[in-house]
Symmetry: D3
Subunit: 239 residues, 6 copies
Amino acid sequence: MTEKTALVVSAHSADFVWRAGGAIALHAARGWKMTVVCLSYGERGESAKLWRQPGMTLDRVKVEREKEARAAAEALGVADIQFWDLGDYPIDLTQDAFYRLVDLYRAIHPAFVLTHSKEDIYNHDHPAVTDFAQHARITAQAHGHNPHQKVLGAPPVFLFEPHQPEQCNWKPDVLLDITPVWEKKRAAIECMAGQEHLWEYYTRVALQRGAQAARNSDKKITYGEGYQAVFPHVVESLA
Amino acid sequence: MTEKTALVVSAHSADFVWRAGGAIALHAARGWKMTVVCLSYGERGESAKLWRQPGMTLDRVKVEREKEARAAAEALGVADIQFWDLGDYPIDLTQDAFYRLVDLYRAIHPAFVLTHSKEDIYNHDHPAVTDFAQHARITAQAHGHNPHQKVLGAPPVFLFEPHQPEQCNWKPDVLLDITPVWEKKRAAIECMAGQEHLWEYYTRVALQRGAQAARNSDKKITYGEGYQAVFPHVVESLA
Amino acid sequence: MTEKTALVVSAHSADFVWRAGGAIALHAARGWKMTVVCLSYGERGESAKLWRQPGMTLDRVKVEREKEARAAAEALGVADIQFWDLGDYPIDLTQDAFYRLVDLYRAIHPAFVLTHSKEDIYNHDHPAVTDFAQHARITAQAHGHNPHQKVLGAPPVFLFEPHQPEQCNWKPDVLLDITPVWEKKRAAIECMAGQEHLWEYYTRVALQRGAQAARNSDKKITYGEGYQAVFPHVVESLA
Amino acid sequence: MTEKTALVVSAHSADFVWRAGGAIALHAARGWKMTVVCLSYGERGESAKLWRQPGMTLDRVKVEREKEARAAAEALGVADIQFWDLGDYPIDLTQDAFYRLVDLYRAIHPAFVLTHSKEDIYNHDHPAVTDFAQHARITAQAHGHNPHQKVLGAPPVFLFEPHQPEQCNWKPDVLLDITPVWEKKRAAIECMAGQEHLWEYYTRVALQRGAQAARNSDKKITYGEGYQAVFPHVVESLA
Amino acid sequence: MTEKTALVVSAHSADFVWRAGGAIALHAARGWKMTVVCLSYGERGESAKLWRQPGMTLDRVKVEREKEARAAAEALGVADIQFWDLGDYPIDLTQDAFYRLVDLYRAIHPAFVLTHSKEDIYNHDHPAVTDFAQHARITAQAHGHNPHQKVLGAPPVFLFEPHQPEQCNWKPDVLLDITPVWEKKRAAIECMAGQEHLWEYYTRVALQRGAQAARNSDKKITYGEGYQAVFPHVVESLA
Amino acid sequence: MTEKTALVVSAHSADFVWRAGGAIALHAARGWKMTVVCLSYGERGESAKLWRQPGMTLDRVKVEREKEARAAAEALGVADIQFWDLGDYPIDLTQDAFYRLVDLYRAIHPAFVLTHSKEDIYNHDHPAVTDFAQHARITAQAHGHNPHQKVLGAPPVFLFEPHQPEQCNWKPDVLLDITPVWEKKRAAIECMAGQEHLWEYYTRVALQRGAQAARNSDKKITYGEGYQAVFPHVVESLA
């Protein structure tokens, strides 16, 4: 039987934790091979606490960030985490990185893709990354790109929640019940020592999305994650 | 085991055929009890061909329209079709009809609801009906309404396709594969003798939605129906 | 040869002047029979100056408003102006008025319809009137309404400019060159003695729309009126 | 010196607490006279817990709801709370109630108005109430309505946060720091014994809006309330 | 007399056929000189069928694609078709190509421009091309660019229909009657041997747009093409 | 006491005058240090009149444009005006310019930022500049960028009015009363000898925005400027 895979394209090395940790843990627990690409360490724009330490350098920040992200990935059951070190604020989405991502799509044939929202007035890298990830997905579908390879199909893309959702015109049309794996997500969150101020913030996000998921479904759900689908859902039943 | 039910709220007596015939036939074929409410016969606004017959009267139009709709319902496997005869162009959505619909929600506890788009610049009754159907659904959820009854849960609502989708700002975020029941839908369509000019139009709609569903899923799909979800999808998996 | 007709549905008795005076004068000058329906005198909400006169009564306000509107209509070349006296703030759009408007559509078969914007946060009557006018138009299209009459075709509907366009989410996608009839529109504007504070305001609107029309067309245009089309333009050429 | 006043138009008797309790307490603490109108008790749709008690009646629910709301109003420092008992699910916004609200605007001349969001797919009464409140405000501005009275000016209207903000297309463009009065809002929340399941939910909302307010301002803010302005802000400075 | 010209900027060498073939044939038949620029052959992303042939190479794909496109252009009566070979998936919109397009605008002074939709979640090249085409148009209007040349005026730009219109937030506000030239468009479509699976798809699109055009105009129209105007229509009459 | 500063990022050397002259003069008059960056002279795309002079060269256009802009800046009380000469139509927003702007944010720590609208179908440089200015602002907030410097806080960003506001989907949610400094703005406008055709156009804009500001506030306001806020307003009071 074929292995089930999914791909998470994370701008900075903590995004996959706050925004998609539940989805990752949930599918990993069911035997999925989850691949996470951290395009940047977020070493300039998302490491304020580390920079407050005297004598801090860019390299030491990166080392710390990678350590945190690897620990979180392990807590979530990530099968493969990659750090592409493309810089941040601004991120440098090179042509090489583009084709590397195309190759990755072709290599793992993910059943779905998770990445950033289309807009983010607080963060210029996030929309750039979602465009990049979706663009590479389309190129991986092209029969004329490395014609000897099997082309990518049409995996759905889900955009995860930005920090201030309404300001980014992001609207969750999918609510994922992550109650069964909440402990793992919280453990992963607590690996992010450099951003402790966000632990409770994203725990509350999970509780709000959980309460909303319950209200929209009559199910008992405590923790949730919201996603915005890029493509229409193709279904065989409406129930 | 509880019976599975769904509710279709159709402004005029042909709408459920063009717009939701596939979903009805698909679920009926799987043993669902499908209830269709035709609030009006569409006797004034959607019966041009009948009115061209000499000596036509409102009552005769209604009789013809009901006959056609019953035949179509049978072709689709509808369990219960109701004609509320509320008039059309404009439809008269009375308070009595409102509470009758609330009672119906409480009586059958549908697992999902199908009704009209939120906007329709060509048809004033359609948006009024979707508002009416959603409003009744909310009232059926109220614990203080007939407190001795079991309240309605949170069945999802899907808005079916209007005649000119872009002009109505309707966007399909759910594409339903209706290939297995296409013959039934086409048979139901052919029951609508008074609107023969629409047979091919809605056959083409089904083919376009089918082609789009295939493209969005890598599946072999020939016929489709598009829906716009009102509420977020609550899911336990993203695949 | 058939007479060319168009219909303007104006909430208050001055709206047709500020918002559609140019279109009216332009077509009237070309021999069109322009019909203007003033559903209300605007006697409560748009007659502040009159109400500042001591001893003013509702009836006297109405008399003054009608006098002004008739003079303006004459300046513009209106063929038929009707005052339906439905009250304002709030307007009372009765069922009788509804069918009267349906009858009017059937009587004159307008080639196009001008009415209010879909939203107006400053005025509750305007959106109610545009809904009313469009609803009546649809009913006039119904073959089962007074089946002995010739049904209405599909005259385009253009929404004229509200007082604060951006706040009403109104966007002009049609710019009409009214330079040839500007003097008539200005003369009509000056008939509105009770709202002198708006004379220059709407003169500037005409100049801005004129400058924008020029910029969008390479033509020499000084005065313009903006409209938002409800329906797609059906054309035989793109030039 | 003139008394400063503001008006809160609440559909159900608890809405003003969850959604505007901070704004009310904040301005009350500064000497403002805050008037709250509860158009309905929410006795049918928002009192599930009470209805679970055996032998409950509509009248007893109303009594309980009023008791809770009065206690909450006291905790917030509300100067005047009114219960108009118009029913709920659906609410019956009568013409009498309309003119009563117009009179209230004229009587207190509020400096600002707080009411519900324009859309709410979970609640049909909320959008009806915001339309009602804004419509009455416009009528109170009309010089011809009770011409002997002083007309209302142009108080800004702010729409408070619905239960599931993104699903209601509600976007907060004003974030109010309610940290100084948080204890009062929490005390008022705890008066709502019948909806205990919402206490923590709305506490988390306050914390999220507070964190977002801090991030948008460089200020130390812990608790916030979000509002969406209906009208543009008129200012004398951009700082 | 000056020759009438129009410009079609097509990302891939088949786009002008599916999306604008009717407009091209219609105007060509009336003596217009129609220029089509194919920025790419679509050799990687839109040539699946060719790539399934054993031993296929990029150059052979391009040769085939050009052959097909030239035949289609001839069927439509295109006066000048140009292949710029900029690559695809992704397309490389170089600075040289940019100024070449500016020069072309200046050389032919098109009366209107046809190009791609602003969004396309299935195709990254299409939105890039529409931005490129509109940008070049603006630069061609600049008096300081090659100051000795006659600057471009303000030709309207119409965006043609993408493959899945609603998913691209594309809304047709212009419906062009292409019934008189349908045979030519169908002939051109049949030149695209490599994409036979699209022949019927786009024939159905033409029939749907035709039916919609008829419904919006009371005219007898069988085949249509939809366009979305970028700029407001400047008109001298509303009829 | 710290000096108060604000930053205006203007694509072309006249934009700050038409679009933000009132805000600049108003704050300058209150002792603010206003910095204006003109990224380009607008020498190619916005200097038609100069190019009509025989023998004109790019350098001479730039000299003229700088002269005009300096005179206008003086009239407005600008403390520092900078010309970065990045070219126009198209503008070349280099990486060097990007970091220069980041440095400027860090150097002056503006309390607010004024720049272009997000969309402009008539001008490709304007949206590019607003993206550039907001991106640089975010990078200036990053702790890892030049870690020895004090990071930028969260200054609000206001988007000024484009030439055809509705076509650019720009909506003013802030109306600034510039009546007290109107004479200065008009004087600055009259410095722009090369664009005399715009003097009255933007004077009318100021009068319309003034009238609208008055209507939204009950204040006596004659001249106004409209802005669209990018971020939510963080406030301590709703009055």
